[in-house]
Symmetry: C2
Subunit: 298 residues, 2 copies
Amino acid sequence: MSAPPASVRIVEVGPRDGLQNEKTIIPAATKVELIDRLSQTGLRTIEATSFVSPKWVPQLADAAEVFAAIRRQPGISYPVLVPNEQGYERARAVGASEVAVFSAASEAFNRKNINASIDESIERFGPVLERARADGVRVRGYVSTVLGCPYQGEVPLADVVRVARRMHAAGCYEISLGDTIGIGTPKKAREMLLAVAAEVPMQALAVHFHDTRGQALANVLACLEEGVAVVDSAVSGTGGCPYAKGATGNVASEDVVYMLEGMGIATGIDLDRLIETGLWLSQQLGRETSSKVARASQ
Amino acid sequence: MSAPPASVRIVEVGPRDGLQNEKTIIPAATKVELIDRLSQTGLRTIEATSFVSPKWVPQLADAAEVFAAIRRQPGISYPVLVPNEQGYERARAVGASEVAVFSAASEAFNRKNINASIDESIERFGPVLERARADGVRVRGYVSTVLGCPYQGEVPLADVVRVARRMHAAGCYEISLGDTIGIGTPKKAREMLLAVAAEVPMQALAVHFHDTRGQALANVLACLEEGVAVVDSAVSGTGGCPYAKGATGNVASEDVVYMLEGMGIATGIDLDRLIETGLWLSQQLGRETSSKVARASQ
């Protein structure tokens, strides 16, 4: 165990991972306003949308419209999710300069979700990475189901390590390790992170926890203690879990920032503005915020 | 930092600390059923009720009736809160064999709540401890506002240590350190615990976190890493916070047990039964459970 990092970069995934799992579909203009508001909070990375087929993610069918309309600020990166070359082209057409690719670490999850093995799914984003390299576009990689899978249950650590290593070798500057179904606990999160960090530099790793079982912040803490310095989260704790009804989604950015700043770990984020943005968003979605820090502020 | 303990004792405080802060007042028979159900989950300590004046805690005005009716099981302790000798006598009259006394670590909180200084509040429970010693009654001590106070803000560590040390010296077998307003973060929780543990043996300490800002499980984790092996929690995460509207109350026992068991730390608790009891309780209270583990199980 090492000392926690002196500063942490928050990757705000609410506009993509959060909204794609919300029942309520909000208008493109509201999404644009959300991202523009987030750009004023001190965040340096805001995942803006997804160019996955609208057939699969109707919530983000307006990806091109949203991305074209946001007021991009200097010093902030706005990655977008792309499933394949076609998605990459759509993203590039509206000026995206950072993209994200993804694969589950679970064979069963990949087969069920994209009808491919882990190896096939990695092969599929190969062309995206090649084109991105040629275009000078940065690529982030998501590994999902790193602590468990709704179909196969346990996911071997070796599979998580293999996917992360291949993403890194293929040119992803950062690999986000995601507990997609929010099933992990701190000891397992720590062990998973350390197993990956034995093959991919810690500085190239991020952690991504869903709060399905209330474990997300404790898992973040365990990983901070091992030296991870990038944390994915979603303002207002948006999202849900298709595998657990009534479950909460991504860990709330407000609660992560509150913890980090309380521990003396700098985030560069204005927590009051973030809370305000989250409360505004929950109004747009017509539901209570999932951020406890935001609730306590009211 | 040491290794987490191999096993943890959960002190279930829902029937007292939880219910005393719920808006809905449930009938005595329901409280009795709650405690009897909890007695079947593997818990070894269940705080049953409070003999504080009904004027201050109308939710638990039926303390004597409830305590007399529960089916006490061998091997389980059922402490009750007592504010003074009069409360102690009422508790003893119905057969309580363990009691709990309390004091805030904050001067301002004590003055506002019980119109006494810290020293006066400690003097007040002196007679209770003397009588308990003579009667062979075990006494638990609660120190509240250990990480912050709604009136004075910061609470000096020295005050927390002083109250805990005096409770221990006066004969409390265990001191529960409570973040009453749920304002703390892991680094501060850790530092507070270590400061107290420098003067009171770690084996005599428990931690008690409210989840007002979502930090409770992370705080528990940080304290486990320092060797604490007793954790207070409330089934279904009952309770609230009079100082933050809409805030959640005690950390949910289900979520704590899920984390501990997931880390290989034995609790002796049947999580499924605990979840079932919490869901039943939330029905009685007419509100959604605050346990995310319980929500994910539905």
